[in-house]
């Protein structure tokens, strides 16, 4: 599938923003989260900007962004519609949470919890939109939606962790929570990569329908040039390049952050260097996530490629 820049940016950015909110609500469940104003303000600003910039960028790939509001209507059948609706609804408790948290009014928690539930729903809808497409076997499986959720959560909690380093602030349980979600994120992705090696039941035989007693092979396409289908749905990446990018993701988004968090005490003594390195860690982890999302698209084969020379998908 075509790795559209705006969709990759959108899912990573919004995912991170929602992840921050979800992680905060977990922390609020087990401890007090009345941080310093600086930390609060940064968390508010970063989560809001990430979510909003992500959502705005998602409209960029539309042919008619000005009609985007129409997509709220078909929530009965369409995961994309549900996603849009959930994303907009999330803003209501989210804005109230921001305000009340900043004003230090205790009821902020309830709005945080509802915002976080809606965030989970939004990411869930995004995942389901891909997972429900039978035409793309690499997406049509049980791992895709959990991966979207856990990716958001791991990078979200890493963002909070990096900010606490920046503000020299300790949050109870955040250490364990971040490490756990990063490890889960890595594990799930590796299981997924193993899973997508299995081929689907659709093949050139079922696509042409003459494969029962015959050997069917592609002779020529409908024309010599490209078309919408081949540019949108049939994209290839060399195996070596894909493996290299997978490694980049593993290192940037999982191994490096885990290493930094665990080894922090022995690694860096100078306070400024520490802040800087955690900032860089977060940037690297985000780049890793963008790479992962790129691979999610470019490595997913669509069954329509069976009409354009592919024998299996």
């Amino acid at each position: 599938m075509h790795p559209s820049k705006s969709i990759i940016f959108f899912t990573v950015m919004s995912g991170t923003g929602y992840g921050i909110i979800i992680c905060l609500s977990f922390l609020a469940l087990i401890a007090e989260i009345n941080f310093s104003y600086g930390l609060k303000l940064s968390l508010i600003l970063i989560s809001f900007l990430f979510i909003t910039l992500g959502l705005l960028s998602s409209t960029l790939h539309l042919g008619h962004p000005e009609r985007a509001w129409r997509s709220f209507s078909q929530w009965r059948s369409s995961w994309l519609s549900r996603e849009g609706l959930a994303a907009v609804l999330t803003y209501i408790p989210l804005m109230l949470f921001y305000l009340l948290w900043f004003l230090e009014m205790d009821i902020f928690k309830y709005f945080l919890y509802s915002a976080s539930i809606l965030s989970v729903i939004t990411i869930y809808c995004t995942g389901q939109m891909y997972a429900s497409l039978k035409t793309v076997p690499a997406w049509n499986n049980v791992y895709v939606t959990p991966i979207y959720l856990i990716n958001g959560l791991s990078i979200g909690s890493l963002s909070i962790y990096c900010l606490t380093r920046f503000y020299e602030y300790e949050i109870q349980h955040l250490y364990q929570f971040t490490l756990l979600s990063l490890a889960l994120c890595l594990m799930l992705k590796i299981i997924y990569w193993f899973h997508i090696r299995t081929k689907s039941t659709s093949s050139i035989n079922t696509a042409i329908g003459l494969g029962k007693d015959n050997k069917v092979s592609f002779f020529e396409g409908p024309h010599t040039g490209k078309n919408f289908l081949t540019t949108e749905m049939i994209n290839k990446i060399k195996k070596e390049k894909a493996n290299f990018l997978r490694l980049c993701f593993i290192i940037l988004s999982c191994v490096l952050p885990i290493y930094m968090i665990v080894q922090e005490a022995t690694l860096i003594i100078d306070a400024f260097i520490l802040k800087l390195s955690f900032f860089i860690t977060l940037v690297f982890a985000l780049i890793g996530m963008l790479i992962e999302r790129y691979l999610f698209f470019i490595q997913a084969k669509h069954v329509v490629s069976l009409y354009y020379g592919e024998n299996k998908v």
Partner: protein, 246 residues
């Protein structure tokens, strides 16, 4: 509404005979011709006379080689347009309701006024039947020539899809595949018409008819009449030729 209609009064669709199709691309050309001034007009082309032309086409002809023990090798031309599926995923994934299936005849259409061009429907279609118009920013697709088959301004005999009326070989038939008494339904029964990718569960309306079995008897008779030897079969001849080429 992007929910599918509860019942379908009719299932209008096409039947494509792979035994007859000669791969001339006439149906694709006439489809473009009709539709570029019809319901979905215009069907834009990008860089039409340049090095890298692309454009919107609702119908495309692929070619495959089909080999078997009995029939040897055969070239099969394979036209493909929207199959107007009964369980059309392209309809249910649409977030705006722009993509819809008509209750009265089962035709799947896109409303150009409300489509936001998110392309999700094209991802959900296994057959590659949806065509994004880059210039117009909306999705387009085969309309089953809805503006021709019901068009009262043209003679009744012309009220069939453009691809059907233009096919010089008669490889395309049009009719109500939901009606067991229709000619087209009987044709499908008789020739073992089949669905493309049934495992995708889209229940396509359009059916494909497989190439007929080749009859080697004919070749044997022809050979026998030349050699005046009734035991000299096509296979004997093949063996001689194969031995000679060793």
């Amino acid at each position: 509404m992007t929910s599918l209609p509860e019942k379908q009064n009719k299932k209008l669709g096409l039947v494509i005979d792979l035994d007859i199709c000669v791969g001339c691309h006439a149906c694709a050309v006439n489809c473009k011709e009709w539709n570029t001034s019809g319901h979905s007009s215009p069907l834009h082309d990008i860089d039409p006379y340049g090095d890298d032309p692309t454009g919107v086409w609702f119908n495309r002809i692929h070619t495959f080689e089909v080999e078997s023990e009995i029939n040897g090798s055969k070239t099969v031309h394979f036209p493909k347009s929207c199959l107007h599926c009964s369980d059309a995923p392209c309809v249910t994934v649409c977030p705006t309701g722009a993509s819809y299936k008509r209750e009265e005849d089962g035709i799947v259409l896109v409303n150009p006024e409300t489509c936001i061009g998110c392309k999700l429907c094209s991802w959900s279609c296994p057959y590659g039947a949806r065509e994004y118009d880059e210039e117009a920013g909306i999705m387009k697709k085969c309309t089953l020539c809805v503006d021709k088959i019901y068009n009262e301004n043209i003679p009744e005999s012309d009220r069939v899809p453009a691809c059907v009326s233009t096919c010089p070989a008669g490889a395309r038939s049009f009719g109500d595949l939901g009606d067991e008494n229709s000619d087209i339904f009987k044709l499908v029964e008789e020739r073992n018409g089949y669905d493309l990718m049934p495992e995708q569960d889209c229940l396509p309306t359009n059916k494909y008819l497989p190439p007929r079995e080749k009859n080697n008897q004919f070749k044997n008779d022809a050979l026998n009449s030349i050699t005046n030897d009734n035991d000299f079969s096509f296979d004997t001849w093949k063996e001689i030729v194969e031995d000679a080429s060793k």
